[in-house]
Symmetry: C2
Subunit: 412 residues, 2 copies
């Protein structure tokens, strides 16, 4: 195979139908950003949206809740997210954090499947999903249990005691992607519900929750949805379950009539029952700016570009970085790929720090994984090229072999 | 008693030691704002703080978590709040909403008091606190119960089955205030823990949680703390309990080493264990601007002014609004008063709407209560005077008697 040149890669950008989307983001000029799977880039509209809310806070004060319809934002933004994940309007609402939402939905699932006591998940699921399940097991005095198995063993572990199969669609460390429809069907065959964490897939590909028959889902707002650091999360409940869910985390914003100040909880008829406390208006404004970056965007094109960027990255690493000990941990099959490509390396942490110092931002996941994420709305093919050139340079010069790259930062 | 004149009231402002604090807020010129107990006014510093974070998001991207210490903000802001509520640094952290925090702490209390099964609260507690308890009772299959009694019956209801006494310090509807130290001591005498919701008192008076021996507390960020609409809440855990709390809502941010991505939950050694999901950085920035408005402020002066404003308001209502059917529902005894004065009136809703249209913003609480809140950092004595003059005008002209003031808005 002849080698891939930068000019060939520039040609890919020239015919990229999503190329114009990059202008929707304010990206630093001296950086290649391959960590949008961890924190999405800043939408150009975010600043104005926040200023607008700050102005309204100052001028309208408490009246903003009605005048600006702040009270309706969680639902309105949920409806915007619904389009991105293949859900109907009214099945999604923005609330709390992903972790808190996992808690809500695990409890809902256990309640809907009384008599079954097992939460089934994957050994390598994102830690917080497992931590939440563990807390819940402790809280319920082990009347329920968490069973984790490796991915291939999941279908076989779907016994008659399983209330809910809880999985993250795209694995945070490997970028490997589950077959959502098949595993949801398997869960249903076993009489269990399926709860999906979409944090690492929503916004990077079209999802089809309703088509796949998914029961419950959660996801974060700050990765591919570009909602800003610590953006609020969202929760999806299939319409058929909504009225049967009696939220365990029941707060006033989920009440049928919050401003009647009725002391007896009565769940709101719709998805609002998944709300708990007061909506975080400032964070919601930024999230809305993030969702706005998807305006008019065809998610099939997003997926095609995501895979193209990932494939290009892998090809270039093969071409440029052979012999430096990088071991691909992401799948090759496009049907099994999320929007990130990951390599294991014993010096992974130091290599990533050196790379970041050279202007290419990916991240590291313990124990030894270098992650490179591709946010198709703003990552260009030349970014991928330049990133691999920088990676080769770090590896070939052993730039990473420096004590200052070995001190672990608090956040990796 | 001779009548109180506006010039007499102006003289009170002239010698108000907190008068200069008003400049810390951006208040609209045409409004008297007596609803800071529901949503605090906009701190002048909020806009700059948010811009700073937006800029950091754009420029530092994921690196902001370390470079800007976003990861440390919940604890840092908790420490700032600790000073306002009489807690030690390390006993408070900013997280989630008040409702979610009530849920966490009720579970913690039930866990610390195994063998006891009752959550004791007040019939007229703020609804969300009761809703959360009800959800928890449902979730735990009624192995625990919620007992609510009227305030005077609380001490007598502290049976040996009570695990936790959960109360809101200042009642949202009447402004009546509990004796925190006495009720905490009573709870302890009965072998129960005391969990206080400080939403309607923190920031309006000095609190002394540690001195009173309080075990657990929560509070909101958007009322007297001026953190903005839907600001994050906080949680207090007395140092002596911290290490014994195994959070039921256990997420990765409460893990001892979140970035080890260990799949087994292990609580952080300190107050961080009360964290669940990723901290909402944008909302935290605004909250920090809110907390900044208390910089160098003596809370004893805040309390004195709060009481003075409330007393003045009551006196002026007696003087100006006699015979219009307003019935005071707030206590007279300063030891029992929060920072709001409330009146019942059959036409309360319409009266408040007419008053708001006349530039005086208070709020209404079902079924019939007009609330007037006094945020001592920015409410002047003349505001109180002008508010009562406007109230008299609305009442004497029956301006409220208009169909458009009877249509209930979504948020009241």
């Amino acid at each position: 195979m002849s080698s891939i040149t930068r000019s060939a890669v520039e040609a890919m950008d020239a015919c990229d139908p999503l190329a114009s989307c990059r202008a929707r983001f304010a990206l630093p000029s001296n950086v290649v950003y391959l960590d949008g799977n961890s924190l999405g880039a800043l939408p150009v509209g975010a600043s104005a949206r926040l200023s607008e809310v700050v102005e309204a806070w100052g001028r309208d004060l408490i009246r903003g809740w009605n005048r600006r319809d702040w009270i309706g934002w969680p639902k309105r933004m949920g409806d915007r997210i619904a389009r991105l994940i293949g859900a109907r309007a009214g099945e999604v609402i923005v609330a709390d954090s992903t972790s808190v939402n996992v808690f809500k939905l695990l409890l809902a699932a256990l309640d809907l499947r009384r008599g079954r006591s097992v939460i089934l998940s994957e050994t390598d699921n994102f830690p917080t999903d497992l931590h939440v399940a563990q807390g819940l097991v402790h809280m319920l005095d082990k009347r329920v249990g968490l069973r984790t198995v490796d991915a291939p063993a999941l279908p076989g572990a779907l016994g008659r005691d399983v209330a809910v199969l809880m999985l993250t669609h795209v694995n945070y460390r490997t970028g490997g992607m589950h077959d959502m429809a098949a595993l949801t069907a398997a869960a249903h065959d076993a009489g269990a519900l399926a709860l999906w964490d979409l944090s690492h897939s929503a916004g990077a590909m079209p999802l089809a929750l309703d088509e796949a028959g998914v029961d419950l889902a959660v996801g974060g707002g700050y990765k591919f949805l570009n909602g800003g650091p610590g953006a609020p999360a969202y929760v999806f409940v299939a319409e058929r379950w909504l009225e049967r869910i009696r939220p365990a985390l029941s707060g006033w914003m989920g009440h049928a009539r919050p401003f009647d100040f009725d002391t007896t909880y009565e769940p709101a008829p719709g998805i609002e029952r998944l709300l708990v406390g007061t909506p975080p208006v400032l964070s919601l404004a930024a999230l809305d700016a993030g969702l706005e970056t998807f305006q008019g965007v065809d998610l099939a094109l997003v997926r095609a570009k995501s895979l193209a960027l990932g494939t290009l990255f892998r090809q270039l690493v093969e071409q440029e970085c052979d012999g430096f000990g990088l071991r691909l941990v992401s799948p090759l099959d496009p049907e099994r790929c999320g929007s990130q490509v990951c390599y294991a390396h014993a010096e992974g942490y130091a290599i990533m720090q050196a790379l970041i110092e050279n202007g290419v931002i990916g991240d590291f996941r313990a124990p030894n994984v270098l992650r490179f994420g591709f946010a198709p709305l703003y990552v260009r093919h030349v970014d991928v090229f330049d990133a691999v050139v920088a990676l080769r340079s770090v590896l070939s010069t052993r730039a990473w072999d420096d004590p200052r790259f070995r001190t672990r930062a608090l956040v990796t």
